[in-house]
């Protein structure tokens, strides 16, 4: 093993920053501390509560959809227009306003400064504004439920011309509010995203090299880079569609008849919208997935008491997935009538991106291999994620191939695929992450039994929901339909299956109440967690206070980092783990003599 000699570092060796660090802003009032807060941890919790709140709305919408599908003609309050609006709002809220905001705004804000060893984000004020702009976007979106005509029912992809032209529900104020809300969201996100990227690049503490960053930070960092570059595509398409809708330009709107009359639109290209939308839409999948990948890696290593297998490969896989995610977008458009050579190209890139993704899966499994696996609640969710992600990923290989995709397109097979891979999988990670960091955020442990009940109901329940959907898809049952009536292709059992799916969905939704109850109850009556209940190595578990105070670390000195985040089960160590900020004894002794030797 390499012996690297290092000279002792004194302050004189450190090059000064170009601009002096500004002291942290310390608020004195309640409002300054908890409402207009500039502390990334408070902002994280604000993001988290808002995202989960609007996510619950989307959950209720999905239950309404399932009631209609499982028991058609039983619920008179759901008409076809409402159904389409529920579908649309459910999808958009879950993908953008819940998952993107929660992973980047929530976990990003909480974990990046703590894990990098920084006192806060580099631009705390911009960070605060980012949250309030996000909240404004959510409120604009919610407002669309209350305008005449209701929210848009164009499907979460908002394809023109049907998103704009009469006949689709919510083409009045609904679609306009949706587009404006998205633009506002993107502006807010860009403010936050600048913070996350620059904090990771410039505010890491001494010794925290890029290759010592926990994979959580790597995942969130790369996802933020993707989001910063991909969200402009959504922004561009939203602006052009707003203009088409409001002042009658024809960016996307073709010449067409509506209700028997020629519209004023002429010559626009709906396919152009699809390209722009999916140019954002596919990286969006990885914006949600990469933070989940990162978090799962850290949770697995910590609870299996073993170093992550192939750390460098994990980092490069994250980077490779990020870069490749920009050249697969048109696999969402195989049925749009594209050139077959195009289809071939995008099918190829889609299969290529499966390689780094598979590397990650193998490495997670190899991390578990002969590890000291502790089946804690976060670990259960992390292992559940691996199962679900493999299932969803494999159906992705089916849909990535043009010839298989064509018959399966717009069926429940697609619904099953993307829910497995980018809905259930990341949500399992969200729960695992909340259970993992809850002791640090609140200083108390959650109720383990309730957590396990929550896990098993959610994990098994989602399989009860989505497995049968694959079968429905093979039968050719189309998605987005309000009711099926008599068809030649659907077997009688398909309707029974739909009813069973709906019952499972209701049970899973109710199981989430256990989670919410657990989170609130444990806040008051959970047992004291201590500083580091999971015996984890990363810096957030080494803070002097739990929950960490404003400024995160010791007031006089930031921690120095001596090692990577995965020193678990180290032979000869006092405990079975060594935190990142702990020098080995030899190193400390040598440092005392003015000379430091690194050990392997």
């Amino acid at each position: 093993m390499a012996q690297v000699a290092h000279d002792a570092v004194t302050d004189a060796d450190l090059r000064p920053f170009e601009v002096a660090e500004e002291p942290l802003y310390h608020p004195k009032t309640f409002i300054g501390k908890y409402i207009w807060s500039q502390d990334a941890k408070v902002i994280a919790i604000q993001y988290g509560i808002t995202a989960i709140g609007i996510g619950l709305v989307a959950l209720v919408l999905s239950i309404l959809m399932r009631l209609q599908l499982g028991f058609p003609e039983s619920f008179s309050l759901i008409d076809p227009a409402n159904y389409l609006q529920f579908v649309t709002m459910h999808g958009m809220i879950m993908v953008i306003y819940l998952l993107t905001a929660l992973f980047l705004g929530g976990f990003g804000n909480y974990l990046i400064p703590l894990m990098c060893g920084a006192r806060d984000m580099v631009f705390p004020y911009v960070n605060m504004v980012s949250y309030w702009v996000y909240l404004a976007a959510v409120l604009i979106l919610v407002a669309s439920f209350f305008v005449p005509g209701g929210p848009t029912g164009a499907g979460w992809t908002l394809y023109p011309p049907q998103a704009v032209i009469g006949g689709t529900p919510g083409t009045g104020a609904g679609i306009i509010l949706m587009l404006i809300s998205l633009c506002v969201f993107i502006i807010g996100f860009t403010m936050g995203g600048l913070n996350y990227v620059v904090t990771v690049l410039q505010a890491r503490t001494r010794g925290m090299t890029l290759m010592r960053l926990p994979l959580t930070v790597w995942g969130i960092f790369m996802a933020t880079v993707l989001a910063l570059l991909a969200f402009p595509a959504l922004f561009v398409s939203c602006i052009m569609m707003i203009l088409d809708r409001l002042i009658g330009t024809s960016f996307f709107m073709p010449a067409m008849l509506a209700a028997g009359e020629q519209t004023a639109y002429d010559g626009g290209s709906p396919i152009l919208f699809q390209h722009l939308f999916w140019f954002f839409g596919h990286p969006e999948v990885y914006i949600v997935a990469l933070p989940a990948f990162g978090i799962v890696s850290d949770v697995l290593a910590t609870h299996a008491r073993k170093n992550i297998f192939g750390y460098r490969m994990m980092v490069w896989a994250i980077v490779a997935i990020g870069a490749l995610s920009f050249i697969v977008w048109a696999h969402h458009m195989y049925v749009s009538g594209m050139n077959p050579y195009f289809g071939f190209f995008f099918a190829t890139t889609t299969l290529i991106i499966a390689v780094p993704t598979a590397i990650k899966v193998y490495n997670w499994v190899l991390t578990l291999w002969r590890g000291n696996i502790q089946l804690t609640v976060p670990m259960l969710f992390a292992i559940g994620f691996i199962f679900t992600f493999i299932n969803g990923g494999l159906t992705g290989l089916f849909l990535g191939n043009v010839t298989v995709d064509l018959p399966l397109s717009d069926t429940y097979f697609v619904v099953a695929h993307f829910h497995m891979v980018m809905a259930v999988s990341p949500v399992l990670v969200v729960f695992g992450a909340i259970y993992h960091w809850y002791p640090k955020m609140t200083g108390r442990m959650f109720d383990e039994t309730l957590g396990k009940i929550h896990f098993w109901m959610t994990f098994l329940g989602t399989y009860a929901i989505y497995y049968p959907m694959h079968y429905l898809g093979f039968e050719g049952v189309p998605r987005r339909y309000y009711a099926y009536g008599e068809t030649a292709f659907m077997s009688d059992s398909a309707q029974d299956l739909n009813a069973a799916i709906s019952i499972a969905a209701i049970i899973v939704a109710l199981a989430q109440l256990i989670f919410i109850y657990n989170v609130i109850k444990s806040l008051f009556s959970g047992k004291e967690a201590g500083h580091n209940p999971w015996k984890a190595t990363t810096l957030e578990w080494q803070t002097p206070h739990t929950p960490p105070r404003h400024g995160n670390f010791d007031e006089d000195e930031l921690p120095s980092v001596y090692r990577w985040a995965y020193d678990y089960g180290v032979p000869g160590a006092e405990q079975d783990f060594i935190p990142q900020n702990v020098p080995s004894e030899e190193m400390a002794a040598a440092r005392g003599q003015g000379e430091t030797k690194a050990e392997s």
Partner: protein, 218 residues
């Protein structure tokens, strides 16, 4: 999407190359005492890095618009609109503004307050004049019947020029703050502010050249 893909390929190429250089020959599992050079990356001030990231985001935005433009113009209903001569004058004005800020930047490096103040005034004044010029161009086009919705070429012209002006407006906010620092005589803050403004002005000038060139050539 070619324009966007080229931009992203270059950017991603740079990111991947940089990351590989940082991570390739490293053994992360080896513990060692931190050395001074490891803190931060090159010790750039965070606002400079942030500006770099922001410029990448804005480039992505305009590259996507350029892609949309080139896809949409292939369709049969595209009828180019005349480019008023005033646009050439506006381009020159924007260039002068960029030069002014470059001068201020040089002045800031040498602590020459007169140069800083003159440069800032030229930069801000030219930006305002450019915006006024664009407004006159719009009025002229509207008066001659080139309305925003009457042809996709017109729509793109108004959207692209409008978006460019909006970005310039954002720059003016930063310029106003920097002028405040300059007035107060805070050298470190002024120096940083002037540098950021100058880079942003140059960037917007290049973006304008690309947009103008695109509209001239089609």
């Amino acid at each position: 999407m070619t324009a966007t893909l080229i931009f992203l390929a270059l950017l991603m190429g740079a990111v991947v190359w940089w990351l590989l250089r940082q991570t390739f020959n490293v053994k992360p599992w080896v513990a060692s005492a931190p050395s001074g050079a490891q803190q931060g990356v090159g010790f750039l001030a965070p606002p400079k890095v942030a500006l770099g990231v922001l410029l990448a985001v804005i480039t992505s935005l305009f590259a996507l618009f350029v892609s949309a433009y080139s896809i949409r113009m292939e369709l049969s209903d595209w009828r180019p609109l005349p480019e008023p001569g005033l646009l050439w004058f506006n381009t020159a004005i924007l260039f002068v503004g960029s030069l002014g800020l470059q001068w201020a930047w040089r002045g800031a490096a040498r602590e020459q307050w007169a140069a800083i103040r003159t440069g800032l005034v030229i930069g801000g004044g030219c930006a305002l004049a450019f915006m006024a010029g664009q407004l006159i161009v719009w009025q002229g086009l509207v008066a001659s019947g080139y309305l925003v919705a009457s042809n996709p070429a017109n729509s793109f012209f108004y959207v692209l020029t409008g978006l460019h002006v909006l970005h310039l407006l954002g720059g003016l906010v930063a310029l106003a703050r920097t002028s405040g620092h300059a007035k107060a005589g805070a050298l470190v803050k002024t120096r940083l502010g002037v540098e950021l403004c100058a880079v942003y002005w140059h960037f917007l000038f290049v973006v304008w050249l690309i947009l103008f060139g695109l509209m001239l050539s089609t």
